[in-house]
Symmetry: C2
Subunit: 675 residues, 2 copies
Amino acid sequence: MALLGTSKYAQGIGLSGVNPDLASERQTASFSVEGLTTLLDGRAEHTRVRRAVVEVIERDPVFSRENQYFQTQNERYEAAVRKAVHLQKKMHEMGWREDGPEFIYIYRAVAGDVAFLLHRVFMRSISVLGSDEQVAKWIPLATKHQLIGSYAQTELGHGTYLQGLETTAVFDTTTQEFILNTPKISAMKWWPGDMGRSATHTVVFAQLYVRGKCYGVHPFIVQIRSLQDHSLCPGITAGDIGPKMNFEHIDNGYLMLQNVRIPRENMLNKFCEVQPDGTYIRRGSQKINYFTMTTVRVSLLSDEVILPLMKACTIAIRYSAVRRQSKLNPGEEEAKILDYQTQQEKLLPQLAAAYAFHFVNNYLHKLFDRGYKEIQERNFNSLPELHASSSGFKAMLSQYCTAGVEICLRACGGHGYSLLSGLPSLYTKIVASCIYEGENTILLLQTARFLVKCFAAASAGQPVPQSVTYLAAVKPGKCPAKNKLDFLNPDIYVEAYQHTAIRLLSSTAAKLQDLIQSGVKKHEAWNQCTVQLVQAAKAHCHYITVKNFVETVEKLENKTGIQKIMKHLCDLFALHGIFSNAGLFLHDGYISGAQMDMITASYLDLLGVIRKDAVPLVDAFDFTDKSLNSALGSYDGNVYQRLYEWAQKSPTNQQISPAYEKYLRPLLHNKLSKL
Amino acid sequence: MALLGTSKYAQGIGLSGVNPDLASERQTASFSVEGLTTLLDGRAEHTRVRRAVVEVIERDPVFSRENQYFQTQNERYEAAVRKAVHLQKKMHEMGWREDGPEFIYIYRAVAGDVAFLLHRVFMRSISVLGSDEQVAKWIPLATKHQLIGSYAQTELGHGTYLQGLETTAVFDTTTQEFILNTPKISAMKWWPGDMGRSATHTVVFAQLYVRGKCYGVHPFIVQIRSLQDHSLCPGITAGDIGPKMNFEHIDNGYLMLQNVRIPRENMLNKFCEVQPDGTYIRRGSQKINYFTMTTVRVSLLSDEVILPLMKACTIAIRYSAVRRQSKLNPGEEEAKILDYQTQQEKLLPQLAAAYAFHFVNNYLHKLFDRGYKEIQERNFNSLPELHASSSGFKAMLSQYCTAGVEICLRACGGHGYSLLSGLPSLYTKIVASCIYEGENTILLLQTARFLVKCFAAASAGQPVPQSVTYLAAVKPGKCPAKNKLDFLNPDIYVEAYQHTAIRLLSSTAAKLQDLIQSGVKKHEAWNQCTVQLVQAAKAHCHYITVKNFVETVEKLENKTGIQKIMKHLCDLFALHGIFSNAGLFLHDGYISGAQMDMITASYLDLLGVIRKDAVPLVDAFDFTDKSLNSALGSYDGNVYQRLYEWAQKSPTNQQISPAYEKYLRPLLHNKLSKL
C-alpha cells in the first residue's frame, strides 16, 4: 500500500471539521438565506418538496455519483440506464406522479445523470403532434417504458435548418404504408439521444412525398429494434456515435433507413394527415411542427443552463473563501482570493447573472404558459413571439452561462482543472447548450428577423407584441446621470439598455434598407448585416433581462433584507453589462466617457459590497454536497483533504501500471536503488 | 454484426475521393501556399527537416494516435510512456540529436502525446540552476533516462505565489544533510507531471532553513522511488492526482515528504550554496531561481498555445467549406457555411490571430535569446523586462488562443462537440495554459507592475527598456482617419493601439496615485486598481503584437502575393481588436462613433476578402491528417464518411451493453417483437 501512496501518515495531517474561513463568511449575512431560497423556489412548500425529493434520491445508492469522474463511456451509459429504470420503481414506491409536485425536482436531484431523456421528448412530441388515437396508443406504452422512444430529427448533414432534411418518407397507396429511406450518407440521422443503444422506437422527421409531390418535413413513428431481443429491425442500421465532450452517459446514435415500411397511422397527424387515397390535409399552421423544439428550448433553460451556472458559482465562491494566496498587506497572513478585486470581478458578475437569469426564466415560463393555452385553442398568433423569445433567450442565456462556468473554472486555478472539482464536467456539458436545440447564432438571427419586422411595424404605428412595444419609443438624447450614484438608479440604466437596443436595431435596419435600395439582393443584404443583427438581438434580450430583474426587485418590498441584496445584484448585473460592452453604449454618445468612468467606479464599488454576502448568496441556491459532487465546493470547505481523499480512489492509483515492467524497468539505472 | 449497425449497405453510400467543395477552394489561392509555409518555418531547410521528422514519426505505429479518443486514463498513460521510451530509440536510430535541427520538431510530430515532459524541465532546471559538478553528475543519467525526473514546485495550497510554499528543508550540520518535510496537507506537492507514477527523482522547491533562519525557496534534488523496484523511498508518499480535463496521458502527481534526508550536494547551487558549516552564500540575483519558469513560459507558446489555435482553424475552416446549411439565395443549393458573414466573423479573426501570434512569438524568442546570453554572462539587467514580457504574452496569447479554439469548436456545431472532431481535446488541453506556469491574471498584474514603474520612469525622463519607450510619447489628439480606407493604413491603427495602451496605463496610474494620496494604504490601493491594471497590461501586449505584425509584413516586400494576403490578415487582426474592444478606443474620443462605423465597415469588408483565401491560408500551416487527428479537418474534406467510420470503432459499438439484459429486457413489452 505504501507503494501507492496511502500511508497512515498522509491521512493524519489533514483538516477536519468545518473550515473556519468558510464558517466566518456565514456569520455576517445581511439577509435570511432560507428566505432567499424560498424566493428562488417560488414558495416554502416547493422548497420542502424539493428537499424531500433530493433526500430520497441521494439516500439511494443506485443514484450515487461518487465514481462518476472515474468511469468510462460504457460504464456511464450502463449506470444511466440503471438509474432511469430504478427511477421508475422509486417513483412508484414513493407515489410520485408525473403530474405531481415532486416530478419537477427529480431531474435536478439525479443531476441529469439518467438515460431516457429523449424518451421524454418522444412522448412530448406525440402528445403535441399526435391525434387522440395516437396518444391513446403510444403514451401508455411509453409511460411504462414498455418501449423506449427517441427523437430523430438532426442528420449528419443537417441540423438547425430543418427544411433541408434529406430523409424521405414516400406514401405507398397500394399498401397504405410510408416507405422511409436514407438516400445518402449526409441524410443519416446523427446525434439523437437514447438511440445509439437503447431505443426501440423513434420519431423520424422526413420529407413527405405523396405521388411524387413533396409536402415538406413531417414526423413519423418508426420501430428500430425488436421488443423481444433488441435486434435491429429489417432495413435499420443504427449504433452509437462515439465519444463526446460530455454526455458519456447518453447513447447519442446514428440511424439509417433502407426501405423501412410503416403503417399510414404512424405519421403524427394532429395537424396534418395523409388520407388513404393520398389526399394531404393540413389543419392549422405547419409551424406547429417546430413547436416541440420551441418548448424544449425554454424547458431546458433552468436545469441545463441556469443551474450549472449556479453550481459553478457555488463551487468557485466557496473555494475562493478558503483558498489563500499572496498577501494583500505585507506582514499579514495570505489573503483569501475572494478578497482580490480581480477575483471578485470574475465571480460576482456570474453570481448576479445566475439570479438575473433565474428571474427571466420565470418571465419566459409565464409567457409560454399563456401561449401554450392559446395554441391548445388553435390560436397561433403568439407563435412568432414565442419562437423569437425562446430562440433569443436560449441563445443569450446558454452563451452567457457557458462563459460564466468557464470563468468559474479558470478562477479556481489548477484545482478547477481537476475533474474532481466538478467544474470541468459542468463546462463540457453546458457548452453543448450553445449548439443543441438550435445553434445560437442562427437562433439570434431568427430573433433579429422578428425584431426587424416588429421595428418596421412599430415605426409605422402598427401594433406589435407586448415585449417589443418599446421599439416604438425611440427617444434621442443623452443619459442624464451626473455622478456615480446616479448609476444605481434602475431608471437610468434600464433607459441606457433600452436606448442601446433600439439604436443597434434601427441602425442595422437602416443599413439593410440602404443595401437593398442600392441594388444588393435581399438575401445577400441580409447576410451582410448579420454580424450586427446578432448584436441587436443580444442587446434586446439583455435589455429585457435587466428590466425584468428590476421589476422583480421592486416586487420584493415586503422582504427588506432580501430586496436590498437583490437590488445590489441587479445593479451589478446591469453595470457589468455596460462595463463589458462599453463600446455599444459610448458609440453615439448616449453615455459619455466621463459617465463610463462613473459606471466603472460604481461597478467596482459594488463588487466590494456584494463580496460580503457572496457565500450566503450561493448557500441560498441550496445545493447538497452530493449534487455539487465537487471536492472544492462542499459546504464544509475542506477542499484539500477532499481532493486528496478523492484522488486516491482514482483508477490510476488502483494498480501499478504495466508501463513500469514493460518500458521503464529495462531503462532505469538499477545497479543501485539510490543515487 | 447487423446488430451493431455496420452493414455493408451503410458502407456503400458514402463519399469518396476529394470533396469537390474543398478542392475548388484551393484553385483560386492568391499566393503560393508552399512559400507561406516556408515563411512560417523560417526557411525552406526547416520545412524539409520538419516534414522528414513528421513522416518518420507518423509511419511508426507506436506513435499512432488512432485510438486516442477511445482510451482510458490508464491506457493513455501507458501509451505515453511507451512512446517516450520508443522515441529515445527512434532518435538514436535516426541519428537525431538533442541539439540537432530535427529535435525541435519531434514534440510537434508526436502531437504532445508523450510522457516525460517534466523530465525535460527537471533537466533544464539542473542545467540552469546547478553547478558544473551537479550538471556533470545528473544530466548524463537523465539524458539516458537512467532516472526519470520531475519538477515539484506547486503545492496543494500554493501555486503561482512561490514565496508562500510551505515545504521545508532544514540543514543538519552534523550529518551535512537537508531534512525535507511536508508540514501540513496544504504543503503537499500537487500537480507535478511525471511524478504520480513514473519519476524516480524530482526537483523539490522548499523553504531553506539553516540554524532556525529561513532563507526562502530553494531547489533540491530528491529521489522518490527506488531504481531497483520502483517502490517509494522511505518517508515518501506519492501517487496520481486523478482525472483531469485533459492530459490523461500525464501522471500529474502528489508528494509528501516525512523527514526525508538528502546530502548537502543535492541543493542546486550555481547561484547560492550552504557551506558545510551552515554559512549561506548567494551569487547573483535570487530572481534567477524563477528564470526556469520564465523561459518555460516562452518556450511553451509555440507548441501549446499557437499550434493548437492553428489546428483548430484548419479543422473549422476546412469543415466550413464542406458543410452546407440553409440557402443564401432562394432557389440555389444550400450554401457553404463559410459564406455566411457570421461564420467568417467567428473564424477569420482567429486565423489572423494565429498568424499574429506566430510572428510575435518570433519576436519574443529573439528577445529571450539576447537576454539569455546576458544572463550567462551574469548580467541580470534584462530580467525585469524578460519577466514582464514572458508573463504578459503568455497570459494574452493563452487567453486569446483558448477563446479562439473554443470559437472554432462551437462554430462546427454538433460535430465539433464530438471528440472525433479533434476540437474538444484541443480545447480541454489549451485551457490549461491559462493556468499553468503562472495563472494569467497574476501574470498580467506582474506585467502591469513593470509597466507602471516604466511609465513613472519614462514620465520622469529616465531611460526605460526598448519595448516600453513608447510610454514616454504621450500625445493627445484624435485619430485623423477620414474614411473607411484610412483604417487600412497601419500607421493609423498602430497609433490608435498605442494611444489606448498609454491612456489605460496613465489613467490607472493616476487612479493609483490618487488613492494613495487620499490615504489608502499602498497595497489596498493597488488591489482597487487591479481590474484596470489587467486591462492596461493586455492593451500593452495587444499593441506590441499589432506593431510587430505590421513590421513583419513590411519586411515581406520581395514576396508580393504573400505580403498582400499577410497585410489583409494584419489589418483584420488590428481592426477586429478595435471592433471587439470598441469601448477602450471610444472612451476618450480618440476614435469617434462615426470612425467606429468606418472601422466596422472595413472590418466586415476584410472578412469577404480573406474568405477567398481561407482554405489555402490554413493549408499553409502544413498539418498532416494524422497530426490533426480530426474527422472534420482532413485534407480531403470527406467529413461525413470519416465521422461514420471512426464512430464505428468506438468501444460503445464493440459490445452489446450489459444494460440491456440487466435493466431493459425485463421492462420492455416483449409479447410482440413489433408494435
